[in-house]
Amino acid sequence: MEIDFKRDEEMEKLVQDLKSVKRSEFEFHDANKPVYSTGKGLTRETVEEISEIKKEPDWMRRLRLKALEIFMSKPVPTWGPDLSGIDWENTSYYNRPGESKTNNWEEVPDEIKETFQKLGVPEMEQKFLAGSVAQYDSEGVYHNLKKVWEDKGVVFMDLDSAVQKYPDLVKDYYCRAVPVTDNKFAALNGAVWSGGSFLYVPKGVQIDMPLQTYFRMNGEATGQFEHTIVVADEGSKVHYIEGCTAPRYDKNSLHSAIVEIYVKRNAKARYTSVQNWSKSVYNMPTKRAWVDENAQMEWVGGSLGSKITMLYPSSYLRGPYASASNLNIALAGAGTFKDTGAKALHLAPHTTSRIVAKSISIEDGKAIYRGLLRMNKGAVHSKSKVQCDALLINDESSSFTYPHDEIYEPTATFSHEASVGRIGTEELTYLRSRGLSEDEASSMIVLGFLDDVMKEIPMEFAVEMNRLIKLEMGKLGAVG
């Protein structure tokens, strides 16, 4: 049996690197006051007002009002985590941070610019990205796409701008994969959406660097309701990344996004999102991809923060040989609830899906895997593989998995695997009794747990995850 020395050396280095990572500061907030806010609460007038401010075409205004009706008619879902803490009346649904949008960081208002600089956004853009959009509260404040891609016909901007500039293109995709009737939170988004990205990659264009949108919520008791549409036209290739953070407040904020991804024939799309909302945010996005013939969709998701997250990115495998992979990592810190999972709907022959869900629960943090696997009649020889791994960093915590399978095709095959590991006082003491510090012990545990997916997740994600776990574990293994 041969050992992969290189991998081991990498791992050793990583453990040492992680030790020196200082606590990053995502939870600060700046003094920026919105230049315009619709105030607290949600009525027909609020929706009209948002549409008016945005000088939207009439079709969008009507869609918003219809969505509002659906939102009002749907009850708050009760089959998952307790959502009674959402203060619908005292939330402000629209907060405009500044007067203009720009493609030059210098023109972004100082306080907002400083915030994004602290988060390292402009630096990342320069180094790693083909394009970037920055959203602050309700509006995109910055968007830029490298000229080489613009020349090839790629469109990348906030959705509001796209509605103005490319209304027909937007109309083709807006709320098709995720209709506002889908659920209460999607309906809410349909009514008050603002910001989010529109990314269109023309036929055959393969973008080798990722494009990123960074979402920042600054206000207290606010809502962020962005709507993102990614279209990978036939034979194209794209990697889109989202990062989200917010300061921590006593009053709860609400994040309810829609993400729609269209992967056309022979195209390949990867969507990576790293969510690190503070513990005062309810995170209720609806994310869905339509995957056509021989196309590939990859979801990579990290849910690190928020008070409650309910998220089940879905792949509709609509054409033969379409495939989807879904890699989700959820960290349920003390006092938080992660109800996450994935859905794969096999609607055509020879489609494949692979779901890997990893969760880490700390103290009373709850992590639930909830998944749907559906194989329609006629989806011959389709295959699916689901793997759920849970790590409990506590002596008492537990995790749950609720897989739901609907198999109507006899030639389809699927498998489920699940594992649960536990790290409590005994495990930590054991590692420490061999000279490992708590830092090293926790880093090794986290890296070990993520080892098989490490290559697929962004490095800063592992660093941040490690930091959060260390913070929470500090309380656990303290020696008196």
Binding site: D8, E12, R422, T425, F449, A478
Partner: protein
């Protein structure tokens, strides 16, 4: 011989400790020097394993009196990792599973902590590890497995001994290392301990039975009863216990 051998010395004085406000250790004094082999015997519930945990600084136990000094340095307020780095090693009676942490990375990271400054190339380190795995009877494939994940009771014990020989501690506490091992396995483990035993390293072998003491002969034998050191002696003491049990010490 190069230079002078630095002798290690563990001095336990009037140690008292409790768990959940229940006093387990009442008065324990014991000195283990480099090169010496001590056996700590005693009936069930005497506090033998507690002594092991307390020496290592397990957070569930609270020291209520006395001192533990390693080479003159007080350990009582030190963390488990500080004690390990000072050269103390405890082979656990029931080692736990730690999923996701590979044996290879674990032992190497631990070694680097205990012997900072020594940069052993990774390949050389693993070669030596594989040799010792063979000696303690662990299959090479275990090197890529998670700590104790799916290990049998005996494999866990072999892994403890592997850690001991790889990490080269100065004072070794073996807690019931013989339980869960069959005769052949015990022979292998004992052989590895004997080979590791040198004039620098002191041993405290905690055992309920005299079985392991046939393979590793202690110079000093101590009997712990009801949290107190009831008898100190030599080899004869353990032999008498084998024949007569503990009642005669109790004075029943």
């Amino acid at each position: 011989m190069k230079g002078t051998v630095k002798m290690s010395e563990l001095v336990i004085k009037n140690l008292a400790a409790s768990i959940d406000d229940r006093e387990i250790l009442k008065d324990v004094s014991l000195t283990v020097k480099g090169g010496e082999i001590h056996a700590l015997m005693g009936p069930n519930g005497a506090g033998k394993s507690t002594l092991g945990y307390v020496l290592m600084g397990h957070p569930n136990y609270k020291v209520t009196g006395g001192s533990i000094k390693l080479n003159g340095v007080e350990l009582i307020n030190k963390t488990p990792e500080e004690r390990a780095r000072a050269g103390l090693f405890l082979a656990f009676q029931n080692p736990v599973t730690v999923q996701g942490v590979k044996l290879s990375t674990f032992i190497r990271t631990a070694y680097n902590q205990m012997h900072p400054g020594e940069k052993i190339p990774i390949q050389q380190f693993y070669d030596s590890m594989k040799q010792h795995m063979k000696k303690v009877g662990l299959d090479e494939s275990f090197i890529s497995r998670s700590i104790n994940d799916g290990f049998s009771g005996g494999e866990r014990k072999r892994f403890e001994i592997l850690q001991m020989v790889m990490l080269k501690p100065k004072i070794v506490v073996l807690d019931e290392i013989d339980s869960g091992l069959d005769v052949d396995a015990l022979k292998m483990v004992a052989e590895e301990i004997r080979e590791f035993h040198n004039e620098e390293t002191g041993f405290l072998i905690i055992t309920h039975y005299q079985r392991i003491l046939k393979d590793i002969e202690p110079e000093f034998v101590h009997v712990l009863m009801d949290g107190k050191m009831a008898r100190d002696g030599n080899r004869d003491l353990s032999l008498r216990i084998e024949e007569e049990g503990y009642d005669w010490i109790r004075g029943v």
